[in-house]
């Protein structure tokens, strides 16, 4: 899908946001809407399975582990400032992202490094508000469309666009999904994504020791909050003054302007702080040696 404007044009003809996405997907790829829905239904099952897998067998990475459980304990014992839904979504996002680091089965949504945000939000929403399967499926279709627009106008690769293109895009996708689940208008859904994206412009990809752990896992946990607020801001009627397609274009040009050191090379940002560098040295000393 090349633009939000093309999707909204269909909505002005009377389609809902998910219907417009399915119609465009059918036109552009020749895949009947029923088939796309069936494929997305399987993806929804896989997203939920990625949560259940780590719930049944908690995971640890080489640098991370235990953060999700800590957040869950905090949620159970008190009343989190972000509210029970957001805090639960954050804990689930942390879990799935930790599972990714531990070589568990996940759904790249849109990437492996950002794989916690969408299942975190959708599963927490299901558990808190009990929507129907159809409503969740519609939300997932719209999340996919947001990712598709970012992929076609900008990029979804941290190596090309930094973390704004991975966790940032995932949060935008989740925000649109939430706006749809809350019954928002098509404009609400699209602007929820745009409001998130304009808040992550410039976010760098700086993995410590090259691992998909620090800061990736905690960014999954914290950007869930931005997704929730992006949806609420849009549902209140607030609009991005910059049209959503132009926000995505800006994300693409900011990504291209980022120096290579801040695009997944581990040569900048948190990766080269004294502690980041020390962690990288420690892990390098633990790694098996390859014959030269």
């Amino acid at each position: 899908m090349r633009s939000f404007e093309a999707i909204l044009a269909r909505c002005r003809e009377g389609l809902s946001l998910p219907e417009a996405v399915l119609a465009l997907e059918e036109e552009e790829r020749g895949i009947p809407a029923a088939e796309v829905r069936e494929r997305m239904r399987r993806r929804l099952e896989d997203l939920e399975a990625s949560v259940r897998g780590v719930e049944e067998h908690p995971a640890r990475g080489r640098l991370v582990g235990g953060e999700a459980e800590r957040m869950e304990a905090y949620l159970r014992e008190g009343s989190p400032l972000s509210g029970p839904f957001t805090a639960q979504a954050s804990a689930l996002a942390l879990k799935v992202a930790t599972g990714n680091a531990a070589m568990r089965r996940i759904v790249a949504a849109p990437t492996a490094g950002s794989c916690g945000i969408l299942p975190g939000v959708l599963v927490a929403y299901r558990r808190t508000f009990a929507p129907s399967e159809e409503e969740l499926l519609a939300a997932l279709v719209v999340a996919g469309a947001v990712g598709s627009v970012v992929a076609e106008r900008a990029t979804l690769a941290g190596a090309e666009g930094g973390c704004q293109a991975e966790c940032g895009a995932a949060a935008a996708m989740a925000a649109s999904a939430l706006a749809v689940l809350r019954g928002g208008s098509p404009e609400d859904g699209v602007h929820a994504a745009a409001l998130v994206l304009q808040s992550v412009l410039g976010l760098v990809c700086d993995p410590v020791a090259g691992l998909v752990e620090v800061p990736c896992v905690l960014r999954n946990g914290s950007l869930v909050g931005l997704a929730v607020l992006g949806a609420d801001l849009a549902l209140s009627g607030i609009r991005s003054l910059i049209p959503p397609d132009e926000v995505v274009d800006a994300l693409g040009s900011v990504g291209r302007a980022l120096p290579a050191s801040l695009r997944e090379t581990s040569r900048g940002g948190l990766a080269v702080t004294p502690t980041g560098a020390a962690l990288a040295r420690r892990l390098a000393s633990e790694a098996p040696r390859l014959e030269g």
């Binding site: 993806r43 997203l47 070589m103 996919g144 992929a151 996708m173 790694a287």
Partner: protein, 224 residues
């Protein structure tokens, strides 16, 4: 990109290029070898050599050589599976000028002394590319069912192969021909809209005297 590519692939973490792509690369190399792998040397290059341990690239490559899919959680146990199946492997690092930063050179050895060298790269987002088979440069992604021919550069080979594909009702999506020189060794990579069945394959193998070997990559069918 299609919606299911955005919400997907379903894979074992942590990295689409260094883990999922590595599994696909191992599978492509295994298909080039064409029989169970018993002994193989893997030469990791660039970022694969630098970060293989943190991303499970070593386990992922081996999982592919064992025929596992990128979403199979048992790929974590691929070293154990390899030793159970009698697959001997050695991992190396190598520098290669001009090589893709995420590439691997596989050297297979059969019990009959036969060897095969395959070079492939992980292109990002889980996509992979076969770059060289036994020193022959070519380009195949495995994203479609793919037929690769190794033949002598002479008139009629391409026509014979494409005529049989037409008879079998198989549409050609893309076609690349490579040759080392006029009348020398050549290869053709045909991406198809469907995979040839056993009967068609047997006819293809016998369709022209210049044809030396055929390789079929089944494409991502069945893979999520």
């Amino acid at each position: 990109m299609a919606l299911e590519e955005i919400i997907g692939p379903v894979m074992v973490g942590p990295s689409s290029s260094h883990t999922a792509g590595a599994v696909r690369l191992g599978n492509l190399a295994r298909l080039c070898w064409g029989r169970p792998v018993t002994e193989v040397d893997l030469y990791l290059r660039g970022s694969f050599a630098a970060t293989f341990w943190g991303h499970g690239t070593d386990r992922a490559l081996l999982a592919g050589l064992l025929g596992l899919r990128p979403d199979d959680e048992s790929l974590r146990e691929s070293f154990r599976l390899a030793s159970e199946r009698g697959l001997r492997f050695r991992l190396h690092a190598e520098r290669a000028d001009g090589a893709h930063p995420n590439s691997v050179r596989f050297v297979f050895r059969g019990e009959d002394g036969r060897t095969l060298e395959v070079i492939g790269a992980s292109m990002g987002g889980g996509a992979v590319e076969l770059q060289s088979v036994d020193g022959f440069q070519l380009r195949a992604t495995g994203a479609f069912p793919t037929l690769v021919t190794f033949h002598r550069d002479e008139p009629g080979v391409i026509a014979a192969v494409s005529a049989l594909l037409a008879e079998g009702g198989l549409n050609i999506a893309s076609m690349n021909v490579h040759r080392q020189g006029r009348g020398a060794k050549a290869a053709m990579v045909l991406e198809l809209d469907g995979a040839p069945d056993g009967a068609l394959l047997a006819r293809l193998e016998a369709c022209h005297p210049g044809l030396e070997r055929l390789l079929v990559l089944p494409g991502p069918e069945g893979e999520v």
